[in-house]
C-alpha cells in the first residue's frame, strides 16, 4: 500500500492559515487502512485545527467552518465526484489526508477549490501489524525483476538500487547506509536464491536499465476495463 505520514500540526496550520471554510478529507484507501488518514484521523485533525486556529486568533470565530469527511478512495475521480459534489460548495478549501495521488485527484475534480496535503507521501510499503511498522518494498520502477531476485526487490531495498550487488558497504548482511540497521537486499537475495538452489540467477550479469520505463509522468492509457460500476 501507499504509506503516508501526517505533517507536523504547525506546518499544516501555517499552510491553511488563510482558509476559513475547509473540509478535512480522509481516505479509506491506503492511508485509512493503517489509520493515518482515515475517518477518525480526519475528525481528530479537524478538531485540532479548529482549536489551533482559535488559539492563534487568525480567523474570526464566526467565519470558521472546519469539518471532516472521508471518501472510499481519493485516487478515483468518479468516487471523489460522487462523494463530494453535493457538499463541496460549502468549503473554500480541502485539506486532504490521502497520498499525493489523492490530493491531485480532488484538485482535478474540483478545480475551483484549493486542495492542500495534510500528509507526506512516503513510499509503497508493507505493513507489519505486530511491530506497528511500515517498510518500503516497491519503487514502482516499471520493470519487475522479483522472479530473478528471490522475491526481494533490490531497487526498493538496496540503498543504491543496484542491479549487480552486493556492494562493499555491507557487513554481515547489514547495510552501512542508515547505520547497519537495514538488511542488505543483495545478501537477502543471495540467501534466498541459495536456499532455492537458484544461484545461477545470482551469477547473472544484469544489464543496465532503460530508465525511460520509469521516467515521469507515466500513464497507462485506456488500460482500465470495468465490468461493473465504479467500485
Amino acid at each position: 500500500m501507499i504509506v503516508v505520514e501526517q505533517k507536523p500540526l504547525e506546518d499544516i496550520l501555517d499552510m491553511v492559515k488563510d482558509c476559513d471554510r475547509m473540509l478535512v478529507l480522509g481516505c479509506d484507501g491506503c492511508s485509512g487502512i493503517y489509520q493515518v488518514g482515515g475517518e477518525k484521523q480526519a475528525e481528530m485533525l479537524s478538531s485540532m485545527l479548529r482549536m489551533g486556529k482559535k488559539t492563534k486568533g487568525e480567523n474570526k470565530e464566526g467565519d470558521l467552518k472546519i469539518e471532516a469527511s472521508t471518501v472510499l478512495r481519493q485516487c478515483d475521480k468518479e468516487i471523489v465526484r460522487e462523494a463530494l459534489e453535493g457538499s463541496i460548495g460549502g468549503y473554500d478549501a480541502v485539506l486532504s489526508m490521502a497520498c499525493g495521488a489523492g490530493v491531485q485527484t480532488v484538485a482535478e475534480v474540483f478545480p475551483e477549490k484549493l486542495v492542500h496535503p495534510a500528509v507526506n507521501t512516503k513510499f509503497i510499503g508493507m505493513q507489519d501489524r505486530e511491530m506497528g511498522d511500515l517498510h518500503e518494498r516497491c519503487r514502482a520502477c516499471g520493470d519487475c525483476i522479483l522472479a530473478e531476485t528471490g522475491g526481494v526487490c533490490p531497487i526498493a531495498r538496496c540503498a543504491k538500487s543496484l542491479l549487480n550487488g552486493p556492494c562493499g558497504g555491507q557487513v554481515e548482511g547489514k547495510c552501512e547506509v542508515g547505520g547497519y540497521e537495514h538488511d542488505c537486499a543483495w545478501i537477502l537475495i543471495y540467501n534466498k536464491l541459495k536456499e532455492f538452489e537458484r544461484l545461477d540467477q545470482f551469477l547473472k550479469l544484469r544489464l543496465m536499465r532503460d530508465n525511460r520505463i520509469s521516467e515521469s509522468p507515466r500513464d497507462l492509457k485506456g488500460s482500465i476495463k470495468y465490468s461493473g460500476g465504479g467500485d
Binding site: K160, L163, N164, G165, G168, V171, G173, V177, L205
Partner: protein, 309 residues
C-alpha cells in the same frame, strides 16, 4: 592480449607487481600529491588516484591522475565511481581519460553519498561497478558506447575492479567478482587484508567459480597508531589484528619523535614484509599498498621483498 599500460604489461609478463595509492583532497594544489608520487617511481608500477573517497567531495581524480602522470612520471590507475555520474558523464570521463593518456581505470560502484561530507546529495548509480566495467570494455574492444553508438578513435586502456576478501558471506562477494570478470575486468585490487587466511579463502572460492582475472592483494601499512585505530574503528568489516594494534600503541608512547617514527617503520616492515612474502607464494599477481602519505614505508617494503633492501 595487448597491453596498453605498464601495469598490464608487467602482469602479462608474470612479474609480481606493486601498486600504490594517492588521494587528492579538497584543494586545487596538487603539489604534495605529485611530490608524494615521485619517490615511488621504479617501485610501484602504478598508483591509484582515488575518486571522492568515502564520498568526500574532493578534487577530480581525472585531473589528478593526469597531473601525477605528467609531473611525477608515475603511471596512474584512475579510480572512477558510479555514485556521482550517470552513463553519459562516465562515458565522457573515460573518453577524456584516454585523451589525456591514462591507461588504467578502476571501476567502482562507490560509497553511498549519504556517508560523505555532502550527505544530502543525490546518489546516481545509473550504473554499478559491473556495468561500468562492461561499458569500458565495450568502448575499448568494440569502439562503441553503451548504447552502441560508434566512437571516433576508441580509447585504449585497461579496466580493473575491487573485491572485498573480508565480506561475509564471502561467496556472494566472489560471485559478484565473477560477474565483473564476465563483464570484462582485467585486474582486481582487494580491500585491505591483514591475514593469509583471508587471502586463502578468497582464492578458494575464486577457483571454485573458475575465475582467472589477476588479483592484487590490498595491504595497509599504518603510519602511526592514530591511523591504525581510526582504520580499525571506522572501516566496515576490516579489523587490524589486535597484536599489531597493541605494538603500534606501545610505539605511540615513545616521546622522541625520530625514535617513534623509526619504531613505526620497523613494526610495519616486520609485519608486512613477512605478509607480502606469504602473498607472493599464493596465487596473487601483486600487492596493492594503500599507504597514502607513507612513501618511505612503501619504497622500503617493496625494496626488501625484491631483495634490494
Amino acid at each position: 592480449m595487448e597491453a596498453y599500460s605498464n601495469l598490464m604489461q608487467e602482469i602479462l609478463n608474470g612479474k609480481f607487481v606493486f601498486t600504490g595509492e594517492l588521494e587528492p583532497e579538497k584543494t586545487t594544489d596538487l603539489n604534495e600529491l605529485v611530490e608524494g608520487a615521485k619517490p615511488l617511481v621504479g617501485y610501484a608500477v602504478a598508483c591509484n588516484v582515488t575518486d571522492n573517497p568515502q564520498s568526500m567531495a574532493y578534487m577530480s581524480s581525472l585531473v589528478a591522475s593526469y597531473l601525477v602522470q605528467r609531473d611525477a612520471g608515475m603511471e596512474t590507475i584512475y579510480q572512477l565511481r558510479c555514485s556521482d555520474r550517470n552513463r553519459l558523464a562516465l562515458t565522457a570521463d573515460v573518453l577524456g581519460a584516454a585523451a589525456l593518456g591514462l591507461k588504467n581505470i578502476l571501476a567502482l560502484t562507490g560509497d553511498h553519498v549519504s556517508l560523505g561530507d555532502n550527505p544530502g546529495a543525490k546518489a546516481v548509480y545509473d550504473l554499478d561497478a559491473v556495468l561500468l566495467t562492461y561499458m569500458i570494455r565495450k568502448m575499448v574492444d568494440e569502439g562503441v558506447d553503451l548504447a552502441g553508438k560508434p566512437i571516433h578513435e576508441p580509447p585504449k586502456l585497461h579496466v580493473g575492479v575491487a573485491v572485498n576478501p573480508n565480506a561475509d558471506p564471502l561467496e556472494a562477494e566472489i560471485i559478484k567478482l565473477k560477474r565483473k570478470e564476465v563483464a570484462g575486468a582485467e585486474f582486481v585490487q582487494t580491500q585491505v587484508v591483514y591475514e593469509m587466511e583471508k587471502v586463502d579463502s578468497l582464492f578458494e572460492i575464486y577457483n571454485q567459480y573458475g575465475i582467472k582475472v589477476p588479483v592484487l592483494i590490498g595491504i595497509f601499512p599504518m603510519k602511526n597508531y592514530g591511523v591504525a585505530d581510526y582504520f580499525d574503528k571506522n572501516i566496515p568489516g576490516v579489523s587490524v589484528p589486535k597484536e599489531l594494534l597493541e605494538i603500534l600503541k606501545m610505539a605511540s608512547e615513545i616521546t622522541d619523535k625520530k625514535e617513534r617514527k623509526e619504531k613505526y617503520l620497523e613494526i610495519n616492515l616486520e609485519y608486512f614484509e613477512n605478509f607480502v612474502r606469504d602473498i607472493m607464494k599464493s596465487e596473487a599477481k601483486g600487492v596493492h599498498v594503500m599507504a597514502v602519505g607513507y612513501e618511505q614505508m612503501v619504497r622500503e617494503l617493496i625494496a626488501r621483498v625484491r631483495g634490494e633492501g
